[in-house]
Symmetry: C3
C-alpha cells in the first residue's frame, strides 16, 4: 500500500522548529496502513527533519548547538557566489538531512512519549514549506 500527503507549513526561518507529530499521526490513520514505514521528507536544501522533546528549552538548546556547527556570522562561499545570505542555512540542512523514517506498528507510530517529529527551517527568511508525509506498508 502507498499513501502520500503534502502538508503546508509556514515558518519563521532561522532554525524555526515546527512540531508536525499530530499531522503525521493523522496521515498514518488516513493511509489505512497497519504495519509499515512513515517517511517525512522536506523538498528543498535549507530545511531538515528530526525528532526532539518539543519544549522551548530543548528547542533553544538545539539552536545553540546548530550555531556552533555552522555559525550565522561566518563568511560563506555560497554567499560570495550567489548573494543569498543563506550559506549557513544550506550547511545546516546538509548536516541534518531532509529525511526521517519511522516504523508504523499496529497502526501507530513507534515514537516515545516525549519524542515529537519536527521540521526545522534553516533559511534566512520566513518560508512556506511543503512537507511530504509518505506511508508504505501492509493493511
Amino acid at each position: 500500500m502507498h499513501f502520500v500527503k503534502s502538508i503546508d507549513i509556514e515558518t519563521e526561518g532561522f532554525s524555526d522548529v515546527i512540531d508536525v507529530t499530530e499531522r503525521a499521526t493523522e496521515a498514518v490513520a488516513s493511509s489505512g496502513v497497519v504495519n509499515g514505514l512513515l517517511t517525512l521528507f522536506v523538498p528543498g536544501s535549507t530545511a531538515a527533519v528530526t525528532t526532539i522533546e518539543f519544549e522551548p528549552g530543548v528547542v533553544a538548546d538545539l539552536k545553540e548547538a546548530i550555531e556552533r556547527v555552522a555559525p550565522e556570522g561566518l563568511r560563506y562561499s555560497h554567499d560570495a557566489r550567489w548573494g543569498d545570505g543563506n550559506g549557513f542555512s544550506h550547511v545546516r540542512a546538509a548536516f541534518m538531512k531532509p529525511s526521517l523514517t519511522v516504523p508504523i506498528v499496529d497502526r501507530a507510530l513507534t515514537l516515545g512519549t516525549w519524542q515529537q517529529l519536527v521540521l526545522i527551517d534553516f533559511d534566512n527568511r520566513p518560508r512556506k514549506r511543503a512537507l511530504l508525509l509518505q506511508v508504505i506498508g501492509v493493511a
Copy 2:
C-alpha cells in the same frame, strides 16, 4: 511482508555506544524477507542510531566530537526549566536522529565489513532501552 522485533538493551548512558549488528542480522533472518529494508528506530528523545567501525578507538573519538557539538558542561535551557540535567543528551539525540534504514539484498544487510550498527545512548544515567528492528520487503 512485515516483521518487527523490539530488543532490550542495557546502557551506561553518557554516549554509551552499543553494537547491535548481530541482533539486527538475526532479525533479518527471522523475518524471511529476501529483499527489502531494515529500519532501526529508538523510541525516546535521548538516544540515536548510526553505523561505525566498532572498535574502542573510533568510539572514543566519536564521543569527543559529540562533546564538541553539545558539551556536557554548558548551561542548557532544558535543565533550567525541567531540572533533569540531561539537556546535552536531548541536543545530541536531535542532532544524530533515532532512525536508520539499511537495504536487505538476497537476505543480507548491505553493510561493509568494518561497518557495525550501533545504538548511542546520550542520557545522563544508565537506561534500559527498547530498540525496534523492523523489516519490510518481499520474500
Copy 3:
C-alpha cells in the same frame, strides 16, 4: 516490487562530495516503481550520503563545518591504535550516516529543484566506492 543497483564512484577522499542525482533518477526509472522509496546506502565506515544544493560554494562551506566538528589535525585514538590516519574520516561518517531515504511519487523523486543527492567520501585517500540505490514500492 524491489529493484537494486550498485553504482561505482571514484572519489578523491578528504570530504569529496559527488552528485549522484542523475544516476539515482535513472535507477528509479529502471525500477518500474510508481510509488515507493529510494534508499541510498554506502557500505563502509568512512562515507555518508545527504542532500545539498550542489554548487562549489556550498560544498566548500559544508567541508569547513565538517572540519569544525571533527578536525583533521587532532589526535585520534583510532589512529593511535590502528595507524590508518583516518580517525577523522570515521568520526565524520558516523556523524553524517551512510543512509538516506527519499519518497518516489508518480515515478519521480520528490527532491526540490536545487536539492541534489550526494555521496561524501571522508576517507584520507582516493577510493573506488560502491553506492547502493535500492527502490521498493508499488507499480
